[in-house]
Symmetry: C2
Subunit: 551 residues, 2 copies
Amino acid sequence: MKIDIFDTTLRDGAQSPGISFGIEDKIRIIKLLDEFGVDYIEAGNPGSNPKDFELFKRAAKLKLKHAKLAAFGPTCRAGTRADQDESLRKIIEAGTEYVVIFGKSWLLHVEQVIKTSAEENLRIISDSIKFMRENNKRVLFDAEHFFDGYYDNKDYALEVLRSAADAGAEIIILCDTNGGTMPDKIGEAVRDVGARIARPLQSRENYEPTISYKENGRAMRAPTAIKLGVHCHDDSGLAVAGTLEAVKNGVSHVHGTVNGIGERCGNANLCVLIANLQVKLNYKCVPPENLENLTELARLVAEHSNLAFNESTPFVGGHAFTHKAGMHIDGVNKLPGSFEHIRPSLVGNSRSTLVSEIAGKAALLNRVRLFAPEIDKDAPELIQALELIKSRENEGYQFENAEGSLDLLILESLGKRRKFFTVEDFNIKLAEPFTGGSASAKIKVNVGERRSAVIEAEGDGPVNALDIALRKALARFYPQIKNMKLIDYKVRVLDSNAATAAKVRVLIESADSTHVWRTIGVSTDIIEASWRALLDSLEYKLSLDEGLRLD
Amino acid sequence: MKIDIFDTTLRDGAQSPGISFGIEDKIRIIKLLDEFGVDYIEAGNPGSNPKDFELFKRAAKLKLKHAKLAAFGPTCRAGTRADQDESLRKIIEAGTEYVVIFGKSWLLHVEQVIKTSAEENLRIISDSIKFMRENNKRVLFDAEHFFDGYYDNKDYALEVLRSAADAGAEIIILCDTNGGTMPDKIGEAVRDVGARIARPLQSRENYEPTISYKENGRAMRAPTAIKLGVHCHDDSGLAVAGTLEAVKNGVSHVHGTVNGIGERCGNANLCVLIANLQVKLNYKCVPPENLENLTELARLVAEHSNLAFNESTPFVGGHAFTHKAGMHIDGVNKLPGSFEHIRPSLVGNSRSTLVSEIAGKAALLNRVRLFAPEIDKDAPELIQALELIKSRENEGYQFENAEGSLDLLILESLGKRRKFFTVEDFNIKLAEPFTGGSASAKIKVNVGERRSAVIEAEGDGPVNALDIALRKALARFYPQIKNMKLIDYKVRVLDSNAATAAKVRVLIESADSTHVWRTIGVSTDIIEASWRALLDSLEYKLSLDEGLRLD
């Protein structure tokens, strides 16, 4: 059975604290979502936000392959006419075929927030939807606060849905706006709405199971039926569970955002939802061949959201198939399914195991054997590597995400670490209040006994200046350095209550045309921490080129 | 109805990628959990990890008020005797009254991972539990992979539970070890186990609903019955939902970790679980008066876990009751319950509203009126403040978490910002490869037209040196500076793929005896970003002392 995927990353997601999309980010996200195969993309609220209006103008020029764009906005206000409503006009002007109109279905809100009567609320919903239909829009109706309304006053909440359906909405979305409804209560309400609204409406004598609209001036008719949707928020940590429960009880259109961003605690995480629906429960959401792009979608959208990606995210996070306990590592080595609920590749993710004090010697031995297959579990080199790692861990290092630095320590314990270069001297100057290129670094690098280079470089701050100077110096002796680049730079303050004297951990991710590697540095001085990670990165690149790694 | 809260932050939580607890952290977490009122604390696996064994020795000396410590470990191995098992002996030596023994309940694991027979697996479970009982331990049995086992081979999975119960386990925990079971399937299995194992066992003629154990050498008897527990993982994003479904179907003992840390995607988040059970579903989990410490518990444990706290966490996150959309802000102003599913204070959290482009002028006006109550919504000062904020936001600033810097901008727009000092000059030197106090900063500060101070200071890195020098200089003119301190320092890399030339955002949290405030700086140079946040922080302190803030 097909379940519509309705993405609201750019609308409800933009209501997430800390999120502020630029227009280029939004365009990129629309393209990614379309490519991935979602059915609807709610791109913004053109009536309330001029930037969103601009976005729809830009987006109209995109040639989307699969997704339909939708513009979102409220009904007209109480006591006003729909056809004179500025916000509704902007929605029409946004130029999408589909529009989402939201209205109140909780009497408490009607009376105390928008402060009008029960009847007037029904009228503005009906008139707003009719106005959209007259303008050839296909209408989705968001029944805001539906579940709270339903459990407070069933008759009224259902009456709201009936008004929307009668006015011509094709899809009615039951919203748990405050995120407080338990999944079983969602399921119960959905069943009742199915029985009392959707089905009777479809079997009513005068019910018209087609909608008419105009395309290029021609009158068109499309088959339809009232379809039920659901829109859950995560305030109880149950947005995905509530959505699944709604689907089980008859909903076939689900709302969510990539990575679950959204107002307060966020919306249902679409990545988790799609994986559950399609991989675990055998519904059809997106083209099957696109599922393996799910992990990439999550990461790219996080990047365009300028959001630290949560590696613990089910299915798509870096930790989702990462095994740490020794017994778990042993289990997946014997039989992957023993500790994995799905094959990671189904969603484009992959398995990894961690070297840590919990994993113990076995995991480290796996790694050591990449360089020295002959080593056995009681070899003194292994013990030495373990001690070296533990002493660094005591300083605040963590090698789980820094295999590059880990491998260098292992090579050191094996007596195989090569000295490609030494830095004899460096010097950093920071000029007067800051301007671009305000920092300069001078560095002397020795290679072997007799060759050296002195390079001075300017950069954006001391770390950048050091980075540029060091690479320039090394490139004289090792031209392949030019083929690598730093692709990520992360700073983590370890004991942030020590304020500016806090210890920081810097992680650098680097890549050349065939490898990606990560290195780490820790210090109370951010420049030193960065410098250490940088040195490891360059040394690792040179080691790789020597063919030290076996995998 | 009472639901047991069993915390495994220090055991399963420690299996989380990126987590590495020190022993002092663990002791602090045990105290926090006990104070909060959880029933059981699983503090580690003494047989597999010598550090955990040490921890139990230390923890035994704690005077816990409420919680019972439990030591965790596997059954003896196939083909070996329980009373000769080193790991079981360590568990006994750990000295806790309660022990958790885990064993396989999925035949696939029995045959392909531990590679033994179905019968031998039952034998090692039974013998291990009996051995614990002979040593006066009260036993909880973790039925690993129970749900996968149940749906693969019901008879065998149930037989495992029966063996454990017959051997003397008091509580049987059904584990969804791989986190892949859907909540409705968890509920269905729990109902069946209740009907086929727990109740028949209790009604059997020879069933002994008391257990005997020794305390200080005296024989004791305690009433008991087979209690069912559940242990869920979040690999499908449904750990909390699955746990709630289990409770609904008869489980009265639930496992989880603070902040949901744990192997792979983590465990059920206890904070979310407790709030749902106790606030929303009226079960009793912890003493009611402690509920309002839930938010603090989550933050403190995150700190001791050295973990970036996820502000989107339901109930306890900083965003959980933070409203951003203009209509939502308008709603909660009129009626808090309109956009909040619970009162935030019930769990020790609080409401906030954000100044952002989505919230628009109304939210900013609220803030501006703190300083100038006479301002109305069309005042030119308000427009100017909005423009100033937007231009900074374009540079990468975000004021949602930096009210200190926001207030300074507002004061500027109002013409009320005071120049307490100017920095005429500064100079930073970084010495040769890093040693403690490797950086020095020299700074000249002017106060008014005629007074100035030149101070030179050393520090751990350039930011710390600048911080020390600036405070020393200012303290000459404003001695109250000595009463403030920086309590948090955070660095966020904004466009981390620009590597060392990336823009960074620094957030500094500062406090004196009565206020806490946060300030921000953004630059491609981390020193400059820190410097800007630092300057704002000191200026804000001086502004506060002048009584500019009304709240």
